[in-house]
């Protein structure tokens, strides 16, 4: 009897071993597939675009109806857009997260409504943000500003850098709010109480103790927002991006060129799509590089802050 049990238990454990191997195999396969996909994508871009990619490409303006030359204005526009978006979105998102975590009663109707709104916002398709940007920022706020300011020589009621940045800021707001909220919640309750016990007000506690502790989380929110914002094209399709400009934008009311948008137009609307293929690939490489660069800068800043905070 005992040997029978031993035999069946041996077979069961062999089955378990097989299942274990199968699981390892599947997950390994997934990793290989994804990495392979990534490499083939990057390889495709590099092969198609490297011939056209050069230092001149990066710093010159386009020529000949966007079939030759460089794409510096698009780089400039994209970077400017993302920076403006961060300036507009991160403080508001941080303030919202601070309110939700530190001030609001967690079960109040208001807090729950705000959270619900944030979650819903996160699920809205990008193109809808574009329509919102056009309808609200450009036509309502912009035209309203024109009416209020009168004739100042600047027209606000049209697609512009500031409205595109505002639209992207709204789009990335949920990501910022969630990251900052998580960072604030991670600050131990005892730390806050220690500050209060010394006679600090709630705001002093937030400003001097909680926020410095949460700074890495805020940076994470910034990084995520930048990653998302740098790549989105749909929201800025008709809110400020243009295909070609005589000069670089130097005011918030100017329009701007944008790498993602440029790529879109190059591949769908240029007179000779095949001729611009190398250009498209090269633009793609530049867009990826810019996104990586912005991310690296933010990650670098975050790791420096993290190092200082832990010291």
């Amino acid at each position: 009897m005992n040997t029978e049990n031993l035999q069946t238990s041996y077979e069961t454990s062999r089955n378990k071993k097989l299942i274990g191997l199968f699981a390892v195999g599947i997950t390994l396969f997934a990793v290989v597939a994804i990495v392979g996909l990534l490499i083939s994508m990057l390889g495709n871009f590099l092969i198609g675009g490297l011939p056209h990619f050069s230092w001149e490409f990066l710093i010159e303006a386009p020529r000949n109806n966007n079939t030759e030359g460089g794409i510096f204005p698009a780089i400039y526009g994209t970077a400017l857009l993302v920076i403006l978006m961060a300036i507009m979105g991160v403080p508001i998102g941080t303030a919202t997260a601070i309110y939700l975590t530190e001030y609001a009663r967690q079960d109040s109707f208001f807090a729950r409504s705000v959270r619900f709104g944030v979650n819903t916002l996160a699920g809205v398709p990008s193109i809808v943000f574009g329509l919102f940007g056009l309808g609200f920022f450009v036509q309502f706020v912009g035209k309203g500003a024109d009416a209020a300011l009168g004739n100042t020589g600047i027209v606000w009621g049209q697609p512009a850098l500031i409205w595109a940045a505002a639209t992207l800021a709204v789009l990335t707001l949920p990501v910022v709010i969630v990251s900052v909220e998580e960072a604030l919640r991670a600050v131990p309750r005892e730390l806050r109480e220690a500050s209060l016990a010394l006679g600090a007000t709630k705001w002093q506690t937030i400003w001097k103790v909680v926020l410095p502790n949460a700074i890495t989380g805020i940076m994470t929110g910034l990084i995520l927002a930048v990653s998302r914002g740098a790549g989105e094209v749909a929201p800025i399709l008709f809110v400020g991006a243009v295909y070609s400009l005589p000069e670089l934008p130097d005011q918030l009311s100017d329009q701007f060129m944008h790498l993602g948008y440029h790529l879109f137009v190059l591949s769908t609307q240029s007179p000779d799509v095949n001729a611009t293929m190398p250009l498209q690939y090269a633009t793609t490489i530049v867009l990826l590089l810019l996104t990586f660069a912005l991310n690296f800068i933010a990650i670098f800043i975050r790791s420096r802050l993290r190092g200082r905070a832990l010291k």
Binding site: D107, P188, L191, A194, S195, A197, L198, G199, A200, P212
Partner: protein, 255 residues
């Protein structure tokens, strides 16, 4: 004996509610100036809740409610016109888990001082040295005041928290199980510290270690299920307790 005693804190029929749940039932006690009063009792009996009620630290929890009175220097601290922030400057608190701010040792001590005033550097230096000396940690840290407080050992961190609390010159020091996370040597150092500090401060201590209460305190209150079952001089409490529950707890029949 009684003629020296001054009541610093007086609780009168003080009850505390977490929402609908009543955590403290009609606590009445006099806590005397420049004495150490300890609260003992099994887990969940309300001793920490009562301690935190003394500097209104429970206000930060949503949905809490109080009845009855707590008077500090004859002023009802739950009166509507009381500024809680000012109250907490006069009542310092040390927590179970020592939590220095993730800043330098120097900045930890000066945190409370710089909240509302702008003292000069010499003034700050003097207070930092005095506080760290009174907390019996000056010699160990005087050469590394600008290092992070997180680099100190557990016992040192707790003494730092004590120094931080006394830097703002409170009258009263509340200590919520200050030694429960520490090794016996650090515990002994802090118990010694408490004896020295009582000449300048009124100390209220919560501890789940009965022997510590017996070693360190002048008066002891025994809490059980949200009631203060007995409150008396420590020596009396531990040798001739009046109530049977007290005796059962002290002799270890339950806990």
């Amino acid at each position: 004996m009684a003629k020296d005693l001054q009541t610093k804190i007086r609780a009168t029929d003080f009850s505390f509610f977490y929402g609908k749940k009543q955590a403290l039932h009609n606590i009445s006690a006099d806590l005397y100036s420049n004495k150490v009063t300890a609260f003992i009792g099994p887990s969940g009996c309300g001793k920490s809740t009562f301690l935190r009620s003394l500097n209104r630290m429970n206000d930060v929890i949503d949905g809490t409610r109080v009845e009855g009175k707590v008077e500090v220097d004859n002023i009802d601290i739950y009166a509507p016109n009381i500024d809680v922030v000012e109250l907490r400057k006069r009542i310092g608190m040390v927590f179970q888990k020592s939590i220095p701010f993730p800043k330098s040792i120097y900045e930890n001590i000066t945190f409370g001082l710089r909240l509302n005033t702008k003292p000069t550097k010499p003034q700050l230096d003097e207070i930092v040295e005095k506080s760290l000396q009174r907390a019996a940690i000056w010699n160990e840290v005087k050469d590394r005041l600008n290092d992070s407080a997180m680099g100190l050992s557990g016992g040192q961190q707790q003494r730092l928290c004590i120094a931080r609390a006394i830097a703002v010159n409170p009258d009263i020091l509340l200590m919520d199980e200050p030694c429960s996370a520490l090794d016996p040597i650090s515990t002994a150092k802090i118990e010694e510290l408490i004896q020295e500090l009582k000449s300048s401060y009124t100390i209220v201590l919560v501890t789940h270690n009965m022997q510590q209460a017996a070693r360190v305190s002048d008066y002891t209150g025994f809490f059980y299920m949200g009631n203060m079952v007995e409150f008396d001089k420590t020596r009396t409490m531990f040798t001739r307790p009046a109530k049977k529950e007290t005796e059962d707890y002290i002799t270890g029949r339950f806990g």
